[in-house]
Amino acid sequence: MNAARRFAPRVALLLVAIVAILLPVLEPNPASINVAVFTMMYVGLASAWNIMGGYTGYISLGHAGFFGLGAYTLGLGVAHLGIGPGYGPFALVPLAGLLTGLFALPIGWIALRTRAATFVIVTIAVMFMLQLAAMNLIGLTGGTGGLSLPVPRWSGDFYNTPFYYAMLILASLTIAVSWWIRRSKFGLGLLAIRDDEDKAMAVGVPTRQFKLAAFVISAALVGMIGGVYAYYVTYVYPEFVIDPLTGISMVLMAFLGGLGTLTGPVLGALLVEPAQLSLAYNFGASRLYLVFYSGVFLVVILLLPRGIVPSVRDLTIGWWTRGGPGRAAGPSPGPSTPAPGNVVAP
């Protein structure tokens, strides 16, 4: 039974990877692949946001600013380097991540002097400052007129596929980084900061450096995804690429799936984004999907304050503890047995 429990997640991961890689073959409809592009985008965004917000407990509502920085970096890079349509612009995605990370360094250095609600407000303020800067630095960004990117000359049926794979690679990279951080001593330090920052300092965790590193890594990953998004939609408008709703969506997905867990943000994105796109396509003009967002937020806060992954895990462990499959329900856990709520989610 132990071997089965050990290998089951690996087999599931392998199956998910195979389906994800073969998706454009299994479902070649461009509309479906378009949904998959945005879903993968949010898998990456929510997982990247979770490295900062979930692991350290510092809730940033301004990550849309980094998404926009990545988009502008790619747009400006393509324009100034004279890169034509095709696969060339994808080569600038790492540059988008690097420059976004460099931008995030001084922003994080200042913002992380604050904690709790003040940090949240500072990140919102920074995001709007970046949006205003993008609107007003007309010579650089094109102002409210935005930037146009070259349109790839791929066929309509194939057009979305390279973007899907680009988003899939970035989402996988983000999950891999998040996984590595979660099991490293650095990640343990981040989780300690989330639980009790002063206590973490007392046992030698350089909290300021750790938080800043998490902030920069998180921002750089978001910036890379923003770069691919810019090329996908072929335009960069300040209101679209630095959109508070993008930032809120990342947070909502991480909360829904399970804050501070590895799989939670992935699950949250897989559930919310296709539903949101469906509502947007069917009722887009009325922005009914915003009501859907509010509803999901309320459900999460009222029924699943810890998110789906930790809640389901608690239920599963409680079920195993009470007797497991094929056995009569046993007595409730004794005092020495970890209560269902006392188990760490992956």
Binding site: R183, S184, K185, F186, D195, D198, A202, V203, P338
Partner: protein, 243 residues
């Protein structure tokens, strides 16, 4: 030889003088008790030594090196650990993970390495066993009893092999049976070369455990010496013991 020298340390909070021209010398290998009535400045002295609050005046030297102005993480890295008045552990981490959080001499490679690999995990388990709480290694900190949290906090501080440990009321809120266990653990760690500075209100605990006492009143050191001498000192009786 003094491990820690505190010289003319002062701290004010607005108009309140919390620590006033306080000087201490902590010899290597000793267990020193820091006692005094409520509000005498004991915890403030701890917070000043460990860098949690900035001093107004004075100096602190650990192994002849000034530690004034350093942050708590740097001071821990130099070899000074501390516990808190109310046991503070990481409630959403398991007891074992709590043990692996402390960082000292980790270096970049150590920080990037897997947290639960090899030697460090073995040491963490050994320390949990030493504290008699090995059976709760996989439980979340928040699920432990208060006594277990006290032991876990001390065990975690010891993970980075500090030379000096500041214990803030180790006997506070624990039952008499556990009290003796805690005292025994402290003695065994002391025998292994760890120096302790202990703030405690339980006079029986302090008198049995400590080799020397320092008495604070209104932020000033008013007496010091062997426990039996301090107990008989009329200044102490007047200021602290009261009767």
């Amino acid at each position: 030889m003094s491990l820690l020298e505190v010289e003319r340390l002062s701290k004010r909070f607005g108009g309140v003088v919390a620590v006033d021209d306080c000087s201490l010398s902590i010899p290597k290998g000793s267990i020193i008790g820091l006692i005094g009535p409520n509000g005498s400045g004991k915890t403030t002295v701890f917070n000043l030594i460990t860098g949690f609050i900035p001093r107004d005046a004075g100096d602190m030297r650990f192994k002849s090196r000034s530690i004034a102005g350093l942050g708590p993480d740097r001071i821990y890295g130099l070899g000074i650990g501390r516990t808190f008045q109310l046991a503070r552990i990481f409630p959403r981490l398991t007891a074992l993970e709590n043990m692996l959080v402390p960082v000292r001499r980790a270096g970049m490679g150590g920080l990037l390495a897997r947290a639960q690999w090899g030697h460090e995990k073995t040491r963490a388990m050994a320390m949990l066993e030493f504290m008699d709480i090995g059976s709760v290694a996989s439980m979340l900190g928040g699920a432990l009893s208060y006594g277990q949290r006290k032991l876990l906090e001390l065990a975690a501080v010891m993970m980075a092999e500090p030379e000096l440990v500041l214990l803030d009321e180790p006997a506070g809120g624990v039952n008499p049976a556990l009290l003796e266990r805690i005292a025994d653990h402290i003695r065994r760690l002391n025998a292994g070369g760890v120096t302790f500075l202990v703030v405690e209100h339980n006079m029986g605990f302090v008198m049995n455990l400590c080799t020397e006492l320092v008495v604070l009143a209104q932020g000033r050191v008013i007496a010091g010496g062997k426990p039996e001498d301090v107990r008989a000192n009329p200044v102490v009786l007047d200021a602290y013991l009261g009767a």
